[in-house]
Amino acid sequence: MTESKTIKVDYLARVEGEGALYIRYDDGGVHDVKLKIFEPPRFFEAFMRGRDYLEAPDITARICGICPVAYQMSALHAMEDALGLAPTPELRALRRLIYCGEWIESHTLHIYMLHAPDFLGYPSAVAMAKDHPQIVRDGLQIKKAGNAIVNLLGGREIHPINVRVGGFYRVPAATELHPLREQLLQARDMAVETVRWAASLPFPKFERAADNQYEFVALSNPREYPMNEGRIASTRGLDIAVRDYDHHFREEQVDYTNALHSVINARGAYFVGPIARYNLNCDRLSPLVRQVADDIGFPPFCANPFQSIVVRSLEVLYAFDEALRIIDSYREPQQPYLKSEPRAATGCAATEAPRGLLYHRYSIDERGKITDAKIVAPTSQNQKTIETDLRLMLPQYLHLTEEKLQHQCEQAIRNYDPCISCSTHFLKLHLDRSDRSAE
């Protein structure tokens, strides 16, 4: 007889959204892993229909309180693609600057508040703060600098209201940007220390076998580390224009989850996010970031998802460096935005949200009303890879107590900083163990 054992954890904390994880395993291995997202579908793509093309950035920004800028950027670039608008270099620089702010806000929240407690053995950031208050203070200071960027350019830190198709409603004068410099310089120094601290954390060893490597997918841009534009590239040779996305990727309905699973037509699961960006674009990081990566001995290619916290910290450092570069070379745009006239057209865009590739496609009619919308969020692209990671990782941890095993699963999921709200809220963990030792 096989004794079946079930472990239930009601809520996996420190991820955004509501979902459940079901794992069936026994001493012989892991037999079933299902990341179940039971948050109801939010129907954003459906209720975009009939709305004006100018509304898309602000409506889609409401998909996420953590990365609204990403939604705004993908939406407005897609609309500009449809309308044949090309933002001026000055407007482009400001968009990159506000994206830097969001990367800093989002990554710092994840590094310090969500992921670090896993490595230091605490159940939460609050518990960690009692023993390591300075670590948390540093995190809050760094995040504050990111907030300042988004606030200045976006009008407020969360759900900014100043970006629009064609540019911004209002652009700052150079004199408004310069007061940020000192705050960003101080925070950049703290970001360097964050990288060194993150690299010193104890990482579980996990790498996939040679015949089952990840396919990392990210934007790639020969001129710069990708944020707003580039071709879609992968570590297995994919190199396509964003407009060809729908020919190479598809979304699949899966019966146990409300979020669609995204796959590459030819090969299946893939991996988006900071590690993918880093692996495909490492040489385009700023000299300071590459120097710091060298100093800590961090390789130009990372295949251990537990080290995503280091890559996020490198990206935070890069975002400060890039923000300072943009501020120092800032020229105020002559016009805050390019005027546009609607026409019947379809446009698409992909930008790099903190969690990875974010694809938007819209069709509009001659009056500028949206007739069709498609949005593919990073978390839905990573779901299959998260499930596979758990399936491959768990066998080496089956000797652990159930409590520790659960913790290991949660930590592995948080490697991806999943935003379940984006992909369709609390993750409920359900481990089902068939105990063969009772036979």
Partner: protein
């Protein structure tokens, strides 16, 4: 008065959850710039900066079992233990109780924290305030205004002699 602040939590577009921003808006009309009125949409890490070293009145909506809609729960946030269910946010952020604990750990607490939590019932997107919540809002608004007026003698006179 500069060390005082009124902070609202909640989403102004979600029914009774908007009672905090609603009260804030009404108090701002009474007191003008005399007291900073800060609307926080749910970022508790930002809250630590907003309330640090200030004497704060915080208004929010809650869903409390066993309490009637429109009940006002008054708490000294620094003395009374706050239930984790009060002002819960998404699991990606902190709730109010965690924000207070975190503030205590990193030395970012307000000097005083008077919490006014109003029990709501309808948190649907675009819904109006429930009648009982609107009535409670008027009570809380009056209470906070009277309290602050008593502290300061009211807003400065703007009439020129």
């Amino acid at each position: 008065m500069t060390d005082r602040a009124i902070i609202s939590l909640g989403n102004r577009f979600r029914g009774d959850d908007s009672v905090g921003p609603y009260i804030l808006h009404r108090i701002r009309q009474h007191l003008g710039d005399m007291v900073p009125c800060i609307e926080n949409g749910g970022d508790m890490t930002q809250l630590l900066e907003q309330w640090r070293d200030r004497r704060v009145c915080l208004v929010d909506a809650v869903l409390a079992e066993g309490r009637a809609v429109g009940d006002v729960i008054r708490l000294d946030g620094l003395a009374a233990p706050i239930a984790h269910s009060v002002c819960g946010t998404s699991s990606h952020g902190l709730n109010l109780a965690e924000a207070i604990e975190l503030g205590r750990a990193v030395g970012a607490l307000p000097r005083s924290l008077d919490i006014y939590a109003i029990c709501g019932e309808n948190f649907a997107t675009s819904a109006a305030l429930s009648p009982a919540v609107a009535a409670a809002a008027a009570v809380v608004e009056r209470e906070i205004v009277n309290f602050l007026m008593a502290q300061t003698g009211g807003p400065p006179c703007t009439n020129s002699p």
